[in-house]
């Protein structure tokens, strides 16, 4: 029983990372109108960037900064690509999906070849290996704790900004109806670019939290996470922010439980099978898609 509890606690930390990733993904979907399959890859590449800085300077602060800056740069660099795709007439969102698949392939290949000779990178355990909290079998490592609290704080900040600032309102307006937003004179293009910036900042922080949680990164990390983020978004309902919250957390918990009771690779499968069952019974997603 304690083991189960331990897995669940673990699961919340992992789940909060998923929630953050899905939130960034949904943000792009709602405001920039793209399926950004490569968003988690940008996060993993940023983890690599922070690792590289850590290796050469041994300064955690600089490494964290590197993660955020590289994430911002990656996301902003991708903006003109997606904007050009979306500006064509007769475009449908598939085009951005295919393009982002291409971006994903490029990044994975770069990580597999050029960085650390393709081997996974590990982040030194700055917390001295001590657990923050021990209760029988339940160990809450510092990494997990920070990932969890960081996740909660970040989600809270994000939703606050979305509901209590002007740009948040503009984002929500564009998400509801891009056409109406254009007609009432909202700065749709500017907001679209801003959403990339926000996704970039978010992505950088996710990279930091993820490094703390996992302690390592690998080229295949991005791949499996990218597929999961897409699946979570579809299961919750494309673009549904609140839905993403619930499904992301649930996935984290389910995966942790599965890893505890099944052989490694089965945990991945379970997640997808469950999501498959959901989307087949309710194709528009558990909480309904927020876009057409």
């Amino acid at each position: 029983m304690e083991i189960v509890l331990a897995q669940i606690v673990n699961g919340f930390s992992l789940g909060s990372i998923y929630v953050l990733l899905v939130t960034g993904f949904n943000l792009m979907l709602l405001v920039a109108r793209i399926i950004q399959f490569a968003y988690p890859q940008f996060v993993v590449l940023s983890m690599y960037a922070s690792w590289a800085v850590l290796e050469s300077t041994n300064n955690i602060f600089l490494a964290a900064l590197a993660a955020i800056i590289s994430s911002i740069i990656l996301n902003l660099l991708s903006e003109p690509i997606f904007r050009r795709i979306n500006n064509r007439e007769n475009v449908d969102i598939n085009a951005s999906f295919v393009a982002s698949m291409g971006l994903s392939m490029i990044i994975v290949e770069i990580m597999s070849h050029s960085i650390n000779n393709g081997f996974p990178v590990s982040f030194p355990d700055y917390w001295g290996g001590k657990n923050l909290f021990s209760f029988g079998y339940i160990n809450l490592g510092r990494g997990e704790f920070y990932a969890l609290t960081g996740g909660i704080i970040l989600v809270a900040i994000f939703f606050y900004l979305l509901y209590h600032t002007h740009y948040g309102r503009v984002f929500r307006a564009i998400a509801e109806s891009r056409k109406t937003a254009k007609q009432v004179g909202l700065a749709v293009l500017k907001s679209s670019i801003l959403s990339y910036l926000v996704a970039g900042i978010l992505g950088g922080i996710i990279a930091i939290l993820f490094s703390m949680l996992l302690g390592s990164a690998s080229p295949w990390l991005g791949e499996s996470v990218a597929l999961k983020v897409l699946a979570v978004s579809i299961t919750a309902g494309l673009g549904n922010l609140k839905g993403g919250l619930y499904v992301g957390l649930s996935l984290g918990i389910l995966e942790s439980l599965a890893v505890g009771f099944l052989a490694g690779s089965w945990a991945n499968v379970i997640a997808f099978v469950l999501m498959l069952i959901v989307v087949l019974t309710k194709p528009e997603g558990l909480f309904g898609a927020a876009i057409e």
Binding site: R88, I106, V269, F272, V279
Partner: protein, 281 residues
């Protein structure tokens, strides 16, 4: 013929077939990634049937095609008329499931691989024959009322409904045929390479096939022949220092084609121009 050149020809055929398997359902906007899982299933089926049960090649081939079609047929009913991205998730899920099952099943060789599938005489000739047959079949579909209906569905699903076209039915039909094509590719792959590794049937293969289909041109079956040869086959001829970067090249090409020429290199318009030029000569 050198071994490498053999491999180039053989793999080109396999990539052509698999790319066609993706192409056909995409005529009605279904990204039918299930085909990769289907290929894995039929490839391993062929291995087991040939090595453990001693089945002759042609029996395995026919069974493989039927098995592939059956898998897609059943799944297509479960899928129904879900939106495009749900179809994507279905495909991805089955790729995961298949891969994980294979990796964890010793009978299938697990991660180490399944070996010693017997060679078949004139396998390249057989591949040529099968590819020609399937190409004829696809050509007939594309130039029939079915093909025209598919184009309408692709352009505007709602309009298709109002014209009395049944997108669900056509979608299921195309998915089933695509499953059969993937089935044939799986069988041929098994006999051609003689050994199977679960790593091959991964999301990477999906990426490769997507690149082939979108560069070649997703609206016709012809461009795919060239892009499969160049993108799928040529890496085999190149030294491994170069070919190990192929996924990067695929990614760059995929992004570029969507940006610059989203309909792909060979489009219906392009074919039309060529047809007219030939008529004019």
């Amino acid at each position: 013929m050198s071994i490498t050149f053999n491999y180039f020809i053989g793999f080109s055929f396999i990539y052509i077939l698999m790319a066609w398997a993706i192409y056909l359902p995409y005529r009605v906007k279904d990204l039918h990634f299930l085909t990769v899982a289907t290929m894995a299933v039929t490839a391993y089926f062929s291995g087991v049937a040939a090595v453990n049960w001693g089945w002759p090649f042609y029996l395995v081939l026919i069974s493989g095609i039927l098995l592939g079609a059956l898998i897609s047929y059943i799944i297509s009913f479960v899928i129904g008329d879900v939106p495009t991205f749900t179809v994507v998730i279905v495909g991805i899920t089955f790729i995961f499931i298949t891969k994980t099952v294979i990796e964890n099943t010793d009978y299938l060789g697990g991660t180490m691989g399944f070996f010693a599938i017997p060679a078949v005489d004139n396998i390249l000739l057989i591949m040529t024959g099968i590819t020609l047959v399937i190409s004829y079949f696809l050509y007939m579909i594309d130039n029939s009322q079915l093909g025209r209906a598919a184009s309408v569905i692709f352009a505007d699903k709602k309009m298709a409904y109002s014209l009395g076209i049944k997108p669900k039915r056509i979608g299921r039909l195309f998915q089933t045929i695509s499953g059969g094509i993937a089935g044939s590719a799986g069988v041929l792959y098994a006999y051609f390479t003689g050994s199977l590794f679960p790593d091959f049937f991964s999301f990477h293969l999906v990426g490769t096939l997507m690149t082939i289909v979108f560069i070649g041109g997703y609206s016709t079956m012809w461009g795919i022949i060239f892009s499969a040869l160049i993108l799928g086959g040529v890496p085999i001829l190149l030294p491994s220092a170069v070919s190990s970067w192929k996924n990067l090249i695929y990614g760059v090409l995929l992004v570029s084609v969507i940006l610059i020429k989203p309909d792909g290199l060979i489009t219906k318009k392009f074919l039309w121009k060529i047809k007219n030029k030939i008529k004019g000569m």
